[in-house]
C-alpha cells in the first residue's frame, strides 16, 4: 500500500517449473472443457491464500476466477497468472501482494510477505470520577490500547482548547463535534440541471411536452431549467511527521469525519511517504476507520519530505484529475527537510490545477508565530488561504471557509 504507481514490468514467476499443488497439468488443455471440478477446487484454495494474505476477494470475484481458470486451462503458468490478476485484483497497489501469494501458492516458495492482520486491540472502558480527571494522563500518546471514557465533558470547554493538550477521551468527544462540523462542504456549479419556477433559465422541453400532454396537447406553460450545484471535491493532505505529533491524532479525526461525512472527499497522509487513506477512513464506524488508517500509515512521526510527498501526490493523483477543480487542504506545520525549491515547485503545480489551496498550520495560533520554516515560506506564495488549526473553533472556521470558498 505504499504507492499508486503500477509495478513496472517486474519479473513474474517463471513460466517453467510451475506445478499446481492440487491440479495436475492437463496436457490437452481444452479451455472450458469438462475439467470444471478441478479449476474450482484450485480457485477456492488460491482465493483462500489471497484472503489470508490480506487481500479482499468477494465471492463474485472468486466465481469469476473459477470461470476464468476453466477458460485458460491450468496447464500454463502464465495463463493462470494473468487470469487470476484479471479476475481477482482490481487495483495496481495489490499487484505485489498477488505476485507474492501466487509465487508461494504455485511454486511453494516460502517467505511470503503477509500483510499484517489487525491485532485485537484491548479497549478499556473508564468510568472515572470527575475529580480525578487531571491525574496521570501521561500515557496519552502511547496507544497501548484504546480507552473509552464515559464521563461528562461539555463542548464549550473543548472548543478553545489546544489539541496538543487533549486527553484520549477529549479526542473522542472532539470527534463527535467534528462530525457535525463536516456535514457541509464546498459546492460548485454542476452540468446537471434542475427545474426552476422563475423566468430565468433555459426552456425545459421535456417537462413542457409532458405538461402539454396532460393539457390535451396544448403547451400552456413553458417549463424552465437552470444549472444546479454539486459538491466540489475536497482533497485533504495530512502531515504525519514527528513535528506534527501533538496535532496529527486530532486532525486525523477531523479528516475521518470529513471523509465519512460527505461524498467526494479524498484523504492522504504525508510523511516520508505518501499514503492514500480514503478507503481506510471511509468506514462509518470511526473507531474501525481510525484503526485501519493507523495501520496503513507506516511512517507515523517519522521525518518529513513534504515537497517530495506533494510531488508524488501531484504525479500519481493530483494533476491527473483528482485535484483538478478541487479544494486542496494541507494540514501541516510546514517543517520540511527537503529542498525549498522542490516545495515551491510542487505547490505551484498543485495551485495550478486546484480550485483553492488551503494551508492549515496548527502553529499559526502561537503568539508571535512567523512562517519562517523553509518549507512553509516556500509554499506560502502558492497558498490561497493560510489558517490556524489547533483547536475545534479554528476547525469550525476552516469548515465554513471551505464551504464558502467552493463557489
Amino acid at each position: 500500500m505504499t504507492s499508486a504507481a503500477p509495478p513496472g514490468s517486474e519479473p513474474r514467476p517463471a513460466a517453467s517449473a510451475l506445478v499446481p499443488p492440487s491440479a495436475p497439468a492437463d496436457p490437452g488443455r481444452r479451455p472450458g472443457a469438462a475439467s470444471a471440478g478441478q479449476p474450482e477446487a484450485v480457485a477456492v484454495g488460491f482465493v483462500a491464500s489471497l484472503r489470508a494474505a490480506g487481500l479482499e476477494v468477494s465471492l463474485l470475484s472468486s466465481m469469476l476466477y473459477a470461470e476464468a481458470l476453466c477458460a485458460v486451462g491450468v496447464a500454463r503458468a502464465d495463463g493462470v497468472y494473468w487470469a487470476g490478476r484479471a479476475a481477482l485484483v482490481h487495483r495496481p497497489e495489490d499487484f505485489d501482494l498477488y505476485d507474492a501469494v501466487f509465487r508461494a501458492y504455485w511454486t511453494g516458495t516460502p517467505g511470503l510477505a503477509v500483510r499484517s492482520t489487525p491485532a485485537a486491540v484491548p479497549v478499556t472502558v473508564e468510568l472515572d470520577d470527575p475529580d480525578a480527571d487531571d491525574g496521570g494522563d501521561g500515557d496519552r500518546d502511547r496507544n497501548d490500547g484504546e480507552r473509552v471514557a464515559v464521563r461528562y465533558s461539555p463542548a464549550e470547554t473543548l472548543a478553545g482548547k489546544d489539541f496538543a493538550d487533549y486527553s484520549d477521551d477529549e479526542l473522542d468527544e472532539a470527534r463527535r463535534l467534528m462530525e457535525r462540523i463536516c456535514q457541509q462542504g464546498p459546492m460548485r456549479p454542476s452540468r446537471r440541471h434542475r427545474a426552476v419556477r422563475a423566468a430565468r433559465g433555459r426552456p425545459d422541453v421535456r417537462r413542457t411536452v409532458r405538461a402539454a400532454l396532460r393539457a390535451g396537447g396544448e403547451p400552456v406553460r413553458l417549463c424552465r431549467r437552470a444549472p444546479s450545484t454539486r459538491p466540489r471535491r475536497l482533497v485533504l493532505l495530512l502531515d504525519v511527521s514527528g513535528s506534527m505529533e501533538p496535532y496529527a491524532r486530532a486532525l486525523l479525526r477531523f479528516v475521518q469525519a470529513a471523509v465519512a461525512g460527505r461524498g467526494r472527499v479524498e484523504a492522504f497522509a504525508l510523511g516520508t511517504r505518501l499514503t492514500r487513506l480514503t478507503r481506510e477512513l471511509s468506514s462509518r464506524d470511526p473507531d474501525r476507520a481510525l484503526r485501519a488508517a493507523a495501520e496503513a500509515v507506516l511512517d507515523w512521526s517519522g521525518g518529513t519530505r513534504l515537497g517530495a510527498g506533494l510531488g508524488r501526490f501531484n504525479d500519481e493523483w493530483g494533476c491527473r484529475g483528482m485535484a483538478r477543480g478541487a479544494v486542496a487542504v494541507i494540514l501541516s506545520d510546514g517543517w520540511d527537510r527537503g529542498e525549498p525549491a522542490e516545495m515551491a515547485e510542487q505547490m505551484q503545480r498543485l495551485s495550478r490545477v486546484a480550485h483553492r489551496v488551503v494551508w492549515v498550520n496548527p502553529l499559526k495560533a502561537t503568539p508571535g508565530y512567523q512562517p519562517l520554516a523553509r518549507g512553509m515560506a516556500a509554499a506560502l506564495p502558492h497558498v490561497d488561504r493560510f489558517v490556524e488549526g489547533h483547536n475545534l473553533d479554528s476547525l469550525e472556521r476552516l469548515a465554513a471557509l471551505i464551504t464558502e470558498d467552493g463557489r
Binding site: 477458460a71 485458460v72 495496481p92 413542457t208 402539454a212 400532454l213
Partner: protein, 309 residues
C-alpha cells in the same frame, strides 16, 4: 478481418494474433484479459497511464469483430438522457401541432394520441441503448471511455445495464440484447471506480511497453520509420521515462515522435532533429527543461550506441 464468432476464440494467443493484425501489439496479460472478456462475456475494465492505448484496444477489437464501435464518452453530469435514450420532444411537439392543424387530433382520444407520440420513431437512441439493440451479425463493441469522469450515480446505473444487458423504456417496452455487446470500460483513475462495478469486470492495468515491444509497435504503426530509428526511439523513450517527468511519454507520444522524425527524413537519432521534434514527446515546459538538464545529448548518444544500424 472479421471472424464468425469472436467469442469462440480458443486462446489468448489467438487474441494476440488478431489484435496484432489490427496493428495493436498486446502483452500477454492484456491478451489474456481480452480473451477472458470475450469468452466469459464480461466487461473489460482497463486502467493505466494516459497514452498507453486503452481506448485503442476497443477500436482494434471492433475492427476485428466487425460489429462496429459504439463509444460513450463519460463526463461530469452525464445522465440517462445522454447515455441511454431520450424522447425527441421538439418533434413530438411538432407532430402534436400538425395533428391539431389537420383536425386528426379531434378524432382521437388522449390515450391514442399519447401512444402515437411515444412511438419508437420519436425515440432518440443514445450509445447504451444502441449497444444492446438486437443486431444481425457480430455484436458491437461498446466503449465506455473515462468512466472516472462521470459521477458515482452514473456508475450505479451503468452497473445495472451491464448486469443484464437490457433497458426498459416505460412507454415502449424492454430492449434486450440477444447477444450482449463486447464491453470495454476505461478509467484514468482520477478516482476509484466503485467496487461493485469492478467485481463485474475483468481488470487489467496497461503498463508502458518494454523496449522490444515498443520497437515493434513503432515499426507496425510508423512503417516509414526504419528499423534502426524505431529501436533508437524506443530506447531513448525508455530512458526519458526514467527521469521522473510530470508526464512521462506514453506509447501514443512515442509513435508521434517516431513519425515526426521519419517525416524529417531521419534514419538514426540526431541531436538537432531530436531537439526540434521533442514537442511531440513532451507536453510540459518543465519536462523539456528537465530533459535538457539531464543531458539530452547523452541519452541520444546512448540510444545510438546501443542500437547501431
Amino acid at each position: 478481418m472479421s471472424v464468425t464468432d469472436p467469442r469462440a476464440v480458443e486462446s489468448a494467443e489467438e487474441v494476440a494474433g488478431a489484435l496484432a493484425a489490427g496493428a495493436y501489439l498486446p502483452d500477454e496479460g492484456l491478451a489474456t484479459a481480452v480473451y477472458l472478456a470475450l469468452r466469459l462475456r464480461r466487461p473489460l475494465l482497463l486502467e493505466g497511464e494516459p497514452g498507453v492505448g486503452k481506448t485503442e484496444v476497443a477500436n482494434v477489437l471492433a475492427a476485428w469483430i466487425g460489429g462496429g464501435l459504439i463509444r460513450l464518452q463519460c463526463y461530469e453530469g452525464i445522465d440517462s438522457a445522454q447515455a441511454v435514450y431520450e424522447w425527441d420532444y421538439a418533434r413530438q411537439l411538432l407532430y402534436l401541432r400538425a395533428a391539431e392543424a389537420t383536425g386528426r387530433a379531434r378524432s382521437m382520444d388522449a390515450a391514442e394520441l399519447s401512444d402515437e407520440l411515444y412511438d419508437e420513431r420519436f425515440l432518440v437512441r443514445r450509445p447504451l441503448l444502441r449497444a444492446i439493440e438486437p443486431v444481425a451479425g457480430p455484436p458491437p463493441v461498446l466503449l465506455v471511455d473515462e468512466v472516472d469522469r462521470a459521477d458515482d450515480e452514473f456508475e450505479a446505473f451503468l452497473l445495472e445495464i451491464l448486469s443484464d444487458y437490457s433497458v426498459t423504456v416505460p412507454e415502449v417496452g424492454t430492449f434486450a440484447a440477444a447477444e450482449p455487446p463486447v464491453v470495454v470500460v476505461t478509467s484514468n483513475r482520477t478516482r476509484d471506480v466503485h467496487d461493485a462495478l469492478k467485481r463485474r469486470c475483468l481488470y487489467h492495468w496497461i503498463d508502458h511497453p518494454d523496449q522490444r515491444r515498443e520497437t515493434d509497435i513503432i515499426r507496425l504503426r510508423v512503417p516509414e520509420a526504419g528499423e534502426t530509428l524505431a529501436r533508437q526511439v524506443a530506447c531513448a523513450a525508455a530512458s526519458i521515462r526514467e527521469i521522473g517527468l510530470y508526464k512521462p511519454p506514453g506509447v501514443a507520444e512515442t509513435i508521434d515522435w517516431a513519425r515526426a522524425l521519419a517525416l524529417l527524413g531521419a534514419e538514426t537519432l540526431a541531436p538537432d532533429q531530436v531537439t526540434a521534434t521533442l514537442g511531440a514527446l513532451l507536453k510540459y515546459r518543465e519536462d523539456h527543461q528537465r530533459v535538457a538538464d539531464n543531458d539530452l545529448a547523452s541519452i541520444v548518444d546512448q540510444a545510438r550506441t546501443a542500437n547501431r544500424p
